[in-house]
Amino acid sequence: MIRSTKKKTKKTGRRHPMATVALVAIGLIVTGAAYAGFSNSSAIAEVDLQAQSTIDEGQKLFASNCATCHGIQADGTDEGPSLIGVGAASTHFQVGTGRMPLAFQGPQGMVKPKQFTEEQTLQLAAYVASLAPGPGIPEAQYLDGDGDVANGGELFRVNCAMCHNVAGAGGALTEGKWAPKLSGVASVHIYEAMATGPQNMPVFNNANISSDEKRDIISYLKYLENSTSVGGFKLGSLGPVAEGLFIWIIGLGAVVALTVWVTAKSN
């Protein structure tokens, strides 16, 4: 008897109409929050890039953080190039990935923890964009990762793999430069990298790769990043070098240890 009542209460508890509602509500809140966070980090926050106040804020930030290298008019010094005409996209990419402000002169600007909030970054971008027209920050519709993955893969192999490796694992260039690995890069930065061609990377403007194709490439890269590796651990996606090292050190190492074990047992 006692058991059956217990069961009953449990059942009613679960069936309670409010439970479903609550569940749906929780689900909505969670996805909504996640979506908001996601779109916030990857695309345009509520900053009006055209507004004069934004540009003024950006100019202030620029004067105190960037002018030493890029000049107070952003027209370049010996320490850094002119930013006139590089556009909002370039600034948003360079500052958003933490490359700017440059830490030290090396073969290539390093990615480091970013120093500015998304809002400040956009203000900087607005300021640079106000100097002369240039590639703008991409619209959210190209960044959703729902493009044609197969086409994106094809485009990536043809246009990007020679520097970034087919699996986006990165690769070496000459004179100490390198093409970085692409996992973990925000969609908006991938787009901006293509549109502005930072440093040794070529510019892929819309005549080369249209916005929709850029969307496909981003979708492909996001697919690579989010799909689990079917074959097991990826060994850094470095291909045969990693596999060769692995078989010599771990594979042969294990086998040699076992030969020692097999022969030691007899003595």
Partner: protein, 537 residues
């Protein structure tokens, strides 16, 4: 009671015995198998871990055969264009060869297919690696000396065949990575002056990549090469049985005996078990670690080349040799381009390989030693050989590292040029440094051995004598231990002697020079009289 129960059991077992006996006789009368079993089963196999490395190679080969057979059931060696429609989304609808499409099907749509692919590929890597390590063991212990020179050659052929097997297999999926590998081969062939282009057209059935190469490589990969490997393995093993196994020096071990376990039952049981151990290791690796994810690389297309394109490790040394050539080695003569940037590294590699295969004969000639050797050298007791080996390993390693120069550069944040230049240095100067160092180390170890044999080793116990003097007590080694320390061949440089006609030929003189180089620096083993006089005080 007890009688009653015992009787039927006896008859039963007698029955069984009679049956097995009859069956055994039947078989034996017709096959003479007992002779073989007796002969082979009584073979003695000495116990040392390094003697199992060849077995590792053999067992990986068996694993390769098994998994490879599975793959042939589903793989299509055809370069016909098809539109991929399997279950891997990012390639859906992409045009690719049937070879690539069937590889993807094996990976994604055939039960157990991916595991089999990975088992096959990992086993192949292990196969060549264990052959390599096995060869190093043979080299550094002098196991290639008479009467085993030919078996060294056979082993070397197996190594080359294994590399060929690996390369042809690596090229079969017709993915971007392997296509780039074939492109390099195509470039090398085209680099041969005058005939190169013709050979390339012949091989690929027209302009690279053509429509034939995968089918052709496939016939080599699953018929010709495996058949050759099996033949050479059989020969290799026959020689091992005929020559008996070598053994490390030790008390009671001579050139005329083998100390160890008989093949039956102990050794056979162990070896059988060990097969499953190797098999297990391979399957474990294959089930945990991805290898050659061709779906990431995509179908072959001559235009894209990926960063970080490398061959499998065993071809790496050749790829590295090409990468280490300084730019601009090319001349134009008689209207032909002579691509020294290809011919020189290929030439260097061929010379290197020829030296490896001929080494037993070279050393035999230099030492003039015509005796049979069944006792292995401890590497330190053949300092020059060990040093040559170390130099060779360094040379190979520099080429090998060359193949991963770009990955070294990105991962250690160095410039590509810096890596290449250091490797070029390592390639040319490294072997000399390795040679000198190794030789010094060997001679030092020999000296230490000698002093231990004569004076024992330092026990760390300091004793004050009645006179006030302090001495450290030396502990004598046992006779067994001493045997190992003092029993090794000592060679002296050959005297250059005039031949029958009273002349000293150039060849003889050269041999004398080499022999002096080999044996000038040496530490002779402690002699009996030295040992005797030492033991008196």
């Amino acid at each position: 009671m007890s009688n009653a129960t015992a009787t039927p059991t006896v008859t039963e077992s007698e029955h069984g015995v009679r049956f097995t006996r009859a069956a055994a006789n039947y078989l034996d009368d017709r096959t003479k198998i007992s002779v073989a079993v007796k002969e082979f089963g009584r073979k003695i196999f000495p116990d040392h871990w390094s003697f199992l490395l060849g077995e590792v190679a053999l067992y990986s080969f068996v694993v390769i055969l098994l998994s490879g057979t599975f793959l042939t059931l589903f793989f299509q060696a055809s370069m016909t264009e098809v539109e991929y429609s399997g279950s891997f989304v990012p390639l859906k609808g992409i045009e690719m060869s049937a070879a690539m499409a069937s590889t993807l099907d094996i990976s994604f749509d055939i039960r157990g297919g991916l595991l089999m692919r990975q088992v096959h590929h990992w086993a192949a890597l292990l196969f060549v690696a264990s052959i390599g390590l096995h060869m190093l063991r043979i080299f550094f212990t002098g196991a290639f000396r008479k009467p085993r020179e030919l078996n060294w050659v056979i082993g070397f052929v197996l190594f080359v065949l294994a590399m060929a097997e690996g390369f042809t297999g690596y090229s079969l999926p017709d993915d971007l990575l392997s296509g780039n590998g074939l492109r390099i081969i195509d470039g090398i062939i085209k680099g041969i002056p005058i005939v190169g282009t013709w050979i390339s057209f012949l091989l690929f059935g027209g302009e690279f990549p053509g429509n034939d190469i995968v089918g052709r490589l496939y016939s080599m990969h699953i018929m010709l090469l495996p058949a050759l490997v099996i033949v050479f393995i059989a020969l290799h093993l026959v020689f091992v049985v005929v020559h008996k196994h070598t053994q490390f020096p030790g008390a009671g071990r001579t050139n005329n005996n083998v100390v160890g376990f008989p093949v039956l039952p102990v050794y056979a049981a162990k070896a059988g078990g060990f097969f499953f151990v190797v098999f297990g290791v391979i399957v474990l690796i294959a089930s945990l670690f991805s290898i050659n994810p061709v779906w990431n690389y995509g179908p072959y297309d001559p235009s894209p080349v990926s960063a970080g394109t490398q061959p499998d490790w065993y071809i790496g040394f050749a790829d590295g040799a090409l990468r280490l050539v300084p730019p601009g080695w090319e001349t134009e003569w008689f209207g032909f381009t002579w691509s020294w940037n290809i011919l020189v590294p290929i030439g260097v590699i061929l010379i290197f390989l020829v030296m490896v295969v001929l080494y037993p004969f070279i050393e035999g000639w230099v030492t003039g030693d015509k005796r049979e050797h069944h006792i292995l050298d401890r590497p330190r007791n053949a300092p020059t050989r060990t040093a040559i080996g170390a130099a060779g390993v360094t040379f190979y390693a520099a080429m090998w590292a060359g193949a991963s120069s770009d990955i070294v550069a990105t991962h250690f944040q160095m410039s590509m040029e810096g890596v290449i230049h250091s490797l070029q240095f390592a390639l040319i100067v490294g072997p000399f440094i390795a040679y000198a160092l190794t030789k010094r180390i060997c001679l030092g170890l020999q000296k230490k051995d000698k002093s231990i044999a004569l004076h024992g080793y330092e026990s760390g116990r300091i004793v004050r004598l009645p006179g006030g003097e302090y001495v450290e007590v030396h502990k004598q080694v046992t006779d067994y231990e001493r045997w190992v320390l003092v029993n090794y061949n000592e060679y002296k440089p050959l005297m250059v002697r005039p031949n029958d006609e009273g002349k000293i030929t150039g060849g003889q003189r050269f041999r004398g020079v080499l022999s002096r180089w080999f044996f000038e620096d040496r530490v002779s083993p402690a002699t009996q009289s030295e040992l005797d006089s030492e033991s008196h005080h």
